[in-house]
């Protein structure tokens, strides 16, 4: 078990966002976190990444209590791709991706192992040709893939990604989902917050449905994306078609 969250509660600015939530992830799983806006998906990812303090509950990362890990130890076990991805200083794409190697060796220099990981991550994200471009001049979609490459370059056993497919055109959305699925099949645990239920249903090995700071359902896509759950949580009607796709309709009020 790479990640265990046990009865976690988190408040932000005095408001309870996560309420007694428990979930875990093991190697090889591609978990889709779904839920309406404001359900607590991003907070759950940030909590899992060790970036927020918990009010109650315990977090274990690769068997160790999260609080006992140094920032570097934590960063060698997980990488985190936030929803907003600021870039404050101009740098070439390759240097940005190399930041994913920060927790390995000397953060200010790149050794052969770092270079190999960076090249692999760039190639995996179809961004190899962008390596020498200034990151500040890329399109939104290109930048999105570069940031994903940064998260992969750390070669961590756990990847937490907040909306990794947002701002991408359909073809690139599919390739990102395929890539994450492939990484899970290679033995990584991947947890991604997703808004596109169709993509989640198609690529994730497991779906965790978050609703009002708690887990509404947790299991295989077919078991979670049921009529009842979707109606209650998302106010939509959806049906799996013959090929395993999902047809979605809004509920009429």
């Amino acid at each position: 078990m790479i990640l265990e969250l046990d009865h976690i509660s988190v408040s932000l600015k005095g408001r309870r966002i996560l309420n007694d939530i428990s979930m875990s992830a093991r190697e090889g799983e591609f978990i889709g976190l779904i839920g309406p806006n404001g359900a607590g998906k991003s907070t759950l990812l940030r909590t899992a990444a060790g970036l927020l303090p918990v009010e109650a509950g315990t977090r274990r990362l690769a068997g160790a209590a999260m609080e006992t890990l140094s920032p570097r130890e934590r960063a060698r076990a997980l990488s985190y791709l936030p929803q907003t991805r600021p870039l404050y200083w101009a740098m070439p794409v390759r240097s940005l991706v190399a930041l994913g190697r920060f927790a390995w060796g000397n953060p200010l220099t790149e050794d052969a192992r770092d270079a190999e990981a960076v090249d692999c991550a760039l190639a995996a994200c179809g961004a190899g040709h962008l390596a020498d471009r200034p990151a500040s001049e890329l399109s939104g979609g290109e930048l999105s893939r570069v940031h994903l490459a940064r998260a992969l370059a750390g070669e961590t056993p756990l990847l937490l990604a907040d909306e990794p497919a947002a701002a991408l055109d359909p073809a690139h959305q599919l390739s990102v989902m395929q890539l994450l699925r492939a990484k899970a099949e290679e033995g990584k645990a991947v947890i991604a917050a997703l808004h596109d239920l169709t993509l989640a249903a198609r690529y994730c090995t497991r779906i965790v449905m978050v609703h009002e700071g708690g887990v509404a359902a947790d299991g295989a896509p077919k078991d979670v994306l049921t009529d009842d759950q979707l109606q209650q949580v998302f106010r939509i009607r959806a049906r799996f078609d013959a090929e395993g796709g999902l047809a979605i309709h809004a509920l009429e009020n």
């Binding site: 940030r46 990444a49 060790g50 970036l51 140094s70 920032p71 570097r72 130890e73 934590r74 960063a75 060698r76 997980l78 990488s79 985190y80 936030p82 907003t84 991805r85 600021p86 870039l87 404050y88 200083w89 101009a90 740098m91 240097s95 940005l96 930041l99 994913g100 920060f102 927790a103 953060p107 200010l108 500040s136 940064r150 750390g154």
Partner: protein, 329 residues
């Protein structure tokens, strides 16, 4: 990498050259050859002028500029804002207030080290206050706003002291601290400031990995394994030592902390970890050069170094503010 290395080499060479050039300038007419001879061998009175008046002055200008350049580069990296500067955050004003208090209450007359020590203490106090008010996790905007308030408050207290100042000699001393000058500096003054400058520089350099990670924002930097608490503490305390040392050496001099890193970025790129050393050298070159220029100007009364820095630096500040593209999304 190569460009950064050669930029450092060029700036270091320019620093040595300017310090040497500075030895040739002064009211006593000494030929350059004689000045160099007097620096390295004992030539009596000429050696006294070169070694005890001109050399400490040249080194003081370089040291003050280098401190401000390094502090500016560190603070800009921490706050991810090319306009961040010891002056903007109120640290310089607090240091100047410390010196002013020492002069106003005649502490400076009791011990030559009172004013510089008070400058360093107040710089530390100001950064500690910035840190405490922000309570660990502060947003950049809040920190800068607190700094603006702090700066105004220290400025008001300095004006009050000048307003109430009973004697004109104290007033002229106050003006030296406020406008900034390295005239009449001795090796005593340098020896007092240098340890703080060195300590501050070491702390700022130690923060380099954290500054690099902060390029992607605080949340990502945290997730990358950067120790942000340590990075904040190193930059804030390191900058306090640097600014205190600079104000103790030369009084309050503005804009070097903004302009020096900005000039370096044009040559060495924006990587905040690689800006620290060249920004320090650039700051030193700027003030060492400016101190030569003000002595060559044909005015009856020497232009204060801080006034010259502001005359060049303030338009530079506007230029940086107007041309900086905000690339953060």
């Amino acid at each position: 990498m190569m460009r950064a290395l050669s930029l450092n080499a060029i700036l270091a060479g320019a620093s040595v050259l300017l310090v040497l050039l500075s030895l040739f300038i002064g009211p006593a007419a000494i030929a350059p050859g004689d000045a160099l001879a007097a620096l390295f061998t004992d030539q009596g009175a000429v050696s006294a002028i070169i070694r005890e008046i001109r050399l400490p002055r040249a080194l003081a200008a370089f040291l003050a500029g280098a401190c401000l350049g390094a502090a500016g580069a560190g603070l800009q990296g921490l706050l991810r804002n090319p306009l961040a500067d010891p002056g903007v955050l109120g640290v310089s004003a607090a240091a100047a207030l410390g010196a002013v208090i020492a002069i106003y209450f005649n502490l400076a007359a009791l011990a030559f080290w009172a004013a510089p020590m008070m400058a360093i203490l107040f710089a530390l106090g100001a950064t500690a206050a910035l840190y405490a008010l922000g309570a660990g996790r502060v947003t950049t905007a809040r920190l800068i706003l607190i700094g603006v308030g702090l700066s105004s408050f220290c400025g008001a207290l300095i004006s009050l002291a000048m307003n109430l100042s009973p004697n004109p000699f104290a007033l002229s001393d106050l003006i030296n601290w406020l406008f900034g000058t390295v005239a009449n500096r001795s090796f005593h003054d340098l020896a007092l400031a240098a340890p703080f400058a060195l300590l501050g520089f070491i702390m700022i350099v130690a923060s380099a990995p954290g500054l690099l990670a902060l390029t992607l924002g605080e949340e990502t930097a945290d997730s990358l394994g950067a120790d942000l608490k340590r990075t904040r503490a190193l930059v804030i305390i390191g900058a306090a030592f640097l600014v205190g040392a600079s104000v103790a050496t030369a009084g309050a001099i503005g804009f070097v902390g903004i302009v020096a890193p900005h000039l370096v970025r044009a040559f060495a790129g924006q990587n905040p970890a690689r800006l620290l050393l060249p920004s320090a050298l650039m700051g030193g070159v700027m003030l060492a050069g400016a101190d030569i220029v003000i002595r060559l100007l044909p005015f009856d009364q020497e232009l204060k170094l801080g006034v010259a820095a502001a005359l060049i630096g303030a338009p530079g500040f506007v230029w940086v503010a107007a041309t900086t593209k905000r690339i953060a999304s």
